[in-house]
Each structure stands twice: as C-alpha cells, then as structure tokens.
Amino acid sequence: MRLIRFSWIAAVSAVLAVSAERPRYGGELRMETRAVLRNLDLAATTTDPEAATRNLILSQVFETLVKFDGSGLIVPNLASSWTHDVSHNRWLFHLKSAPMGHDGATWETPFPMPGQRSPLRVLRDAANPSAALIRKNTDDTLAGTGPFRIAEFEPGKRLRLVAHENYWGGRPYLDAIEIRMGRTLREQATDFDAGLADIIEIPISDIRRTRSIAGHNTFTAPMETIALVFDANKVPPNAREAVALTLDRASMHSVLLQKQGEPTAALIPQWISGYAFTFTSTRDLIKARKLQQTTAIEFAFERQDPLLRSIAERITLNASEAGIKLSTAAGQSADLRLVRLALPCADPYESIRQLAALFRAPSNGDAYNIEKELLDGFRIIPLFHLPVIYHASQKVRGWQSTQLKARQWNLADVWLSGARRP
C-alpha cells in the first residue's frame, strides 16, 4: 500500500516537473506570415491587410518610448517616466537605464521630444511605431533597442533576427527568429504540417481543425476591419442604405466567423476608440425593400480569400431578400467591394487618419468626427473587427495571448522546449 502511495507521489512529481519546465535559452523560432516587409521604414505605415503584422515584426527591433496596453492606455516602454514644461512644449522622457542599441551605443537620457500638441497627442505619437528610436550608422545600418537585431533581410521574402545580447530587458531566450514573409495561409499550413514552421497564421475556418492537432491557438486583439465600400459616384445613397439594412451581421459572426472577432458598425474597435458603441446597425428588410431602387450592383471581393468569399456570398443572399441583386464582378472599379482594412496601430487618431487618407476623405478634427464623416451616407459599411489567429507548435512556449491582446508580440519571452545553446 505504501509502495503504491509512493508510486503515485513519484508519478505526480514527474508530471509536475515536466509541466513546470523552465525556460531554455537557445534555438531558432520559425515564423511565417502573409505580411510582406519590403523595407525597414517604420513611417511607411499603410492600411493594407498586412500592415499591422509588419509593425509587429519591426517592433521586435525598434522600440518606442511608450506603448499602448491591452486597454488602449499609454504605458511606459523604453521610457520609465516623462516630464514636460508648463506650456507642454518641451517633453523629456527618462529612459530605463540608458538602453544600449544594436550597435553597442547607448541613448542619452532624458530623451527630449518637441511638444506644441496636447499631452495625449504627444504620448500617442510617441507610442506610434514611426516614433521608435532608430539610429542610422555610417554604414547605413539601422540600430534599434529591441530584443532582436536584424541579421539578414531579403525584402519581401525573409527576415532573420538574432538576439540582442545587451537588451535592456534581458537577453531573449531565443537565439534567432526566422520570419518568412508573403506566405499564403495554405502554404503556411503545409509548412507547419511538414515541420518547417513553428508559428503560423491560420484562418478562422481552421480553428476547429487545429484544436485537434498538437499546438495551441492564440488570438490578437482586432487588427483589421472587414467592411463594404461603395463607389459613391455609382450607387446612390438610398441603395447604399438599403444594402446596409439587409446585412445580418449576427448570423455571419456566429456561423461564418465561428464567433471570432466582433460584429461592428464602426471602423475603429471599441477598445481603441472608446466610442465605437455610438455607431449602431439594425437589420430592416422592409425598409430596405422600400429604399432599393437599383436593379443590380456590381460586387467585387478577393475570391482567393475564403473568409471574404463566404461573407460576400452571405451578403449577396442577404441583399437578395430585399430584392437587391449583387452581381459578382472583378477589379477596383466595381460598385461595391468587400475589403479588409488594417488597423495599423492602437492609436485611434492615427488609425482613422490613415483610413481617411485611404478613402481620400478629410481628416480634420478628432477621431470620432473623422470616422463619423467617413460612415455618413453609407459609403463605408463596417462589418466585423477581426483578430489575427496564430497557431504555435507544441514546442513553442511563452507565446501568450495576453500580450497579443495588446497587439504586441512578446517574442523576447518566447522559448523553445528542448532548445539548447550551442
């Protein structure tokens, strides 16, 4: 009896020992993404679907003084504190123990920054990727303060990062990260199944499938918005509103999106803007039938994107209930397009400003007014905010959803099970 009891104790201890495996240094993490990084210019932020991922990659190399947390609040990053003069014209950011760059040089502290804006604006600007601390050396190499430095870069194809040994937050566990860019979801899945990738992006439709295989899924905070965009010159406001009134977002969210992301009538998610709830949508087929006057609307979407295709087909069915015929077309000149809009950063003003620029709309005033201006007249009809879903292999540890919810990759904390330093 005692023997049996000891045996149980030994077994439980062994399991605990395994489950409480300590982080290991070393190893190379292989990631794949649809995003394409053609240069290292952080200011070249756009609203294409991969823009957010591109910022996440570069944030491993170049860091900002402050950053947004998962609630959209500004929190310290490189800077531990900051002060300003009475008129808010001159700001001083006190850095954490003079962080050393990839080139071995340190940044002086306190770090000055011009003001002449509202304090919130100054801090939000400082949190934007374009405000990261970058030093250009005489050999044209760029030095940042992030946990990894760039070792190799093939624009648009591959980026190899290696650990920054003198990172101010402590050396990362990983020795290197290999990021293959421009990989389709199908290619990523194939590479993962073949053991050629450790972390990949997966479509929503694969969530159920990947749950049954080794590894785990993690979800970011919403990083893109799916929206309908009308050509206002071709489709009259009544017809646009009629289409908006036919949309059954709840059904699409629960079935097509498998309850991932969130249905929305706003471009910027609630957690970033705080005002998204003021934009509402209701389904009213009776009113839609009264409003519809256009016999047929050309409808374009990316047919290679399974999610967009299924949403588009559902939208077509929804519209047909009100007698609106959406005929599939191709190209940017269609009357109506279903698009993915990236939310490049957690700054609501910066995000909506970029969207306004994308649609050649005015970007004066605060974020709310800009967004309201964009949505008035049903030129743009937001449908869903979607996260990016990653699937990591079983050996990847420390890849946490909590960080991803704040739109950050915590690759400095990621380690590989069984890794060894050479």
């Binding site: 439709s205 159920r208 059904s251 629960s254 079935v255 097509l256 498998q258 309850k259 299924s310 949403i311 087909e313 559902r314 077509t316 069915l317």
Partner: protein, 582 residues
Amino acid sequence: MTFRTRLLLISSLTIAGVVALVTGTVSILIRRSLETVDTQRRSAMIEQFRRSLNGQGEEVARKAERAITSPAILRIAAESARPDADFAPFLDEAKAQAETLGLDFVEILKPDHSIISSAHWQARYGYPNNWLISHLEPQKSAFLTRVPTPEGDAVALATIRTAGPILILAADRLDKDFLSSLSAGPGMRALLWLNENEVISAQGKVENPKLLLTLATQATTSRESVSGTIHWSNEYRDKEAFLAIPLLQDSTVLGVLFAGTSLAEQMTLERSILWTGILAATAGIILGSLMGWWTTERVTKPVTQLAKGAAAIAAGDWTARVEVTSKDEIGQLALSFNHMTIQLLEQRDRTIQAERVAAWRELARRLAHELKNPLFPLQLTIENMQRARQSHPEQFDEVFQESTTTMLHELQNLKTIIGRFSDFAKMPKPQFEQVDINEVVRHVLNLFQPQLQANGRNIKVDANLSDSSERISADPEQLGRALGNLVLNALDAMPQTGTLHITTSKTNEGARLTVSDTGQGLSAEECERLFTPYYTTKHHGTGLGLAIVQSVVSDHGGKITLTSAQGEGSTFTIDLPAKRDS
C-alpha cells in the same frame, strides 16, 4: 434554234436528267439507311443513359447511407436534440461529407428544412432549402432535380435520408463527367441542356448553345422526345442530328438530354455522290454532245442540203439540186425534192408559155379592139364615098371633102393608138438627177388643173406635201408622167365629184408619194390584175397607164402598192429611194 441544236440539247438534257435521277435516288437511299442506323444508335444511347442514371442513382443512395452513419452527422443529430442547439460549428460539415463521399451536393437540414450546412453554397446556412421537393418524403430511390448554385442551376440525381430529426440531401451533378461516362459510339455524343446559355457536353460547355433552343423548347413544351438537325456553322460537314429528350421530375422539366450524331460522314458521302453525279452528268453531256454531234451530222446534213436547195429555188435558182447520198428516208426525201424541183421548173415554163400566149391574145384582142374603132368609121366613110359617086355624083365633092376629113381624123386616132403601143414598147431609160418630189407634184397638179373642173366636174385637191423639200435621185419627166397617169386614173374613178389626196413624206430610205381618190374603189381581183399591161376596168383606154407607172417606179428602184376597198376609193403608195444604187 436549229434542228441540230435542238437534237443536241435533247440528248444532253436526257443524259444529265438520267444522271441526276440516279444520283438523287442513290443519295436519298443512302441518307435513309444512314438515318435508320443513326436512330438505332441514338436509341441505344438513350437506353444507356437511363441505365447510367439508375446506376448513378444507386451510387448516390449508397453514399447517402454512409453519410447518415458518419460520426459527424450523428453529432449534428445529437446537437439538434439539445434545446439550445448551436449548429455553427458544423458549417463545414456538409462540405467535408461531400469531399469524403465524393458527392457534388450535400446539404444538412433541420426538420424545418432550414440549412445547417451546405457543401456547394456554404453561405446559405439558416436559409430554407430551395431545391428539396417539399412533398417528397425521404425515399430510397434517387430522383432528378435542379440544384441552385451560386453559378446557376445544375441538374442532379438526388436522394434524401434522415439521421434522427435532421435531413441529409445528397446529390451528384449530371455534368460532363457523367456525359463522358456514356460510352457513345464514334461520331456520337450526349449534351445536357440546362438553359439557353448553358449546355454541357463531355468536353465542357458547348459553344453556341442558343442553336439548341428551338429543339429544347419543343421538347420542354411537348414533354416528349423531339428530333431535329443542327447546323453548327457554315461548314457543310458541321451538321448534327439530335434526339432531344426532356428530363422530367413529375411535371417539371429539369433539363433536356440531347443525343447527337454527327452528320459529317453522311454529308461528306452525300457531297461525294453529288460531285460524282455532277462529274458524271458533265461527262455525259460532253459525251452526249459529241455523240449527238456525230449523229446529227449524219442525220441533218442531207436535211441541211435540202433546206439549202429549197432556199436556192426560193431565191430563183431553178437549177438547184440535192445530192442523194443514201437510200433511206432522207435519200428518198432528196430524190423527191429533186423530182419536185424538175416538176416545178416544167410547170413554170408551161405557165410562162401560157402567160405569153395569153398576153399575146390579150394584145391582139386589145389591138383588134382599138384598131376596130377607127377602122369601122373609115369603112363607113369609104362606102359612103362609093355610094355618093355612084348615086349622087353632083354631091361627091362635098361628100369627098367630109369623108376625107373624117378619114384623116380616124387615121390620126390610129396613129395615136399605135404611138401609145410604141411608147410602151420603147419605154426610155430614166435620166437621173436630184429632184424635189414636191416640185414634181406641184407641176403635175398645175398641168391637170383645168381638167379638175372641166365638163361639170367638181374635184377637190388635198395636197399634203412634206415640209422639207425631199430631193431624190429621179427622172423628173418620167416621174411626172407616172404621177400624171395616177392622177388621170383618179379622175376616171371620180367622174363628177370627189377629192384627190396627194401627200409626200420622208421615209428612212427616201420619199413616199401617195395618191388617193374617193371613187368607187376596186375589188380584190381588180387590184391583183391592175398593173397587168393592157388590163383596164374602163370602157376606154389601152390598159397601159398603170403598167407604165409600175415600169417607171421599178426603173427608179422603188415600189408601188395599192390599197383599195369597194366604195372607199383607192390609194396608190410609191416608195422611192433617195439614192439609186449604181
């Protein structure tokens, strides 16, 4: 058209007609036999289609049976039993089942027929199924139905199964794979007509599907098989015979199956026969022409010689003869022709001789008559002189004086008569010069002016002369004499009153002169004999006036005609050439 040409034409057309008849008959017979074979082949294909349909239906049913026992379907059935059933996780299940079982269409339905998952139209989840025929109960056998898809309707073999409260619809599309599974013979194919824009074959979509619209409409309207021929292009070989069979589900027409046979070989064969026929006909026509030419040459040569001989005789060559080259009917004909020519010549000589005798008799009679008139007074005068000398010598001188006067007068008459005959006999040759015919007419009218009103006559003259002065080559004296004779003739025809019409006009050849009277006119017999010398209808005259007119006109190269009717007067028309042939 000559006899030879006609003969050639008849022989050529006969040969061509016979060849055309044979060619047409052969073509029709071949076409009918090929059509019979094609009909049999198409019927076999239809039968095979039905067998394949049954086979595929059984396969669909088997797959549906497998589906309802799959764990996923059982999980959905179990989920449906829960009060707060959530079917969202099963969105892809129908697609997975379709891929696993190799089906084109799978739909999983709630008991209220709303879609849980659709393999081919995933976005329709939650919507009611619109291709399940509502009155159909789940059944073992497959049925034909139309399945709406985002790309348009498809025709499919479907079956319905139940798994607990949920329904499974499984269907396989009748597509190009199905059509290719029908092992059609060479030159045959099956087409599936879904609508006027979508017709599929084993190779994919058919181009120009609208060409099948008429047949498809006939088949769907009548709900019976219809046959017809489709010409796919202007190429003569691109022709296909079809049997269109409506695919029915109850009373609904789901599509039309076209069993087609290429008519390329048949058209090629028919074209070959046609060309062979044309070549044979052409060769026949050429050969027929040569043979006909050779034959007609032999047959028509004597006939042509006969025709030439007849033409020569008609032209006045009484010596013409035809060569007799055979003893057949043609030779007999030539002999008869020659004999007839000899007879005609003898007859003509006899007629001339008789006419001469008659003319001399007439001349003698006329001469006797003319001479008798002055001779009789002469005789009486001489006898009177003799009686006066014997009985009344004292009055002889007086009688002698009167008698010699009378005798001289009668002798003058005799001289005049003899002079007229002499003039006719010595008709001088005309001396041609350029003459204005109107001037001649005016001159003659002036000469006869006194006679128009003499002896109580009242003859009006209506001279209608042409505006232009017609100058012709003529002898003005002879022409005036001829016109004078005609005027005299007209005056004799109008003893008391009447109108003398004289007109001149220009003709293509020269000039025309007409002289008409309003007398009693002449009979047809008189008209015919009027120009005969010494013939006259009057109690006086020599009968030489109109003969002289005809002689003058003839010497001028002209022509004189007479038109007359009893009681309506007579009209003499003289046509004279402008220039006399040398």
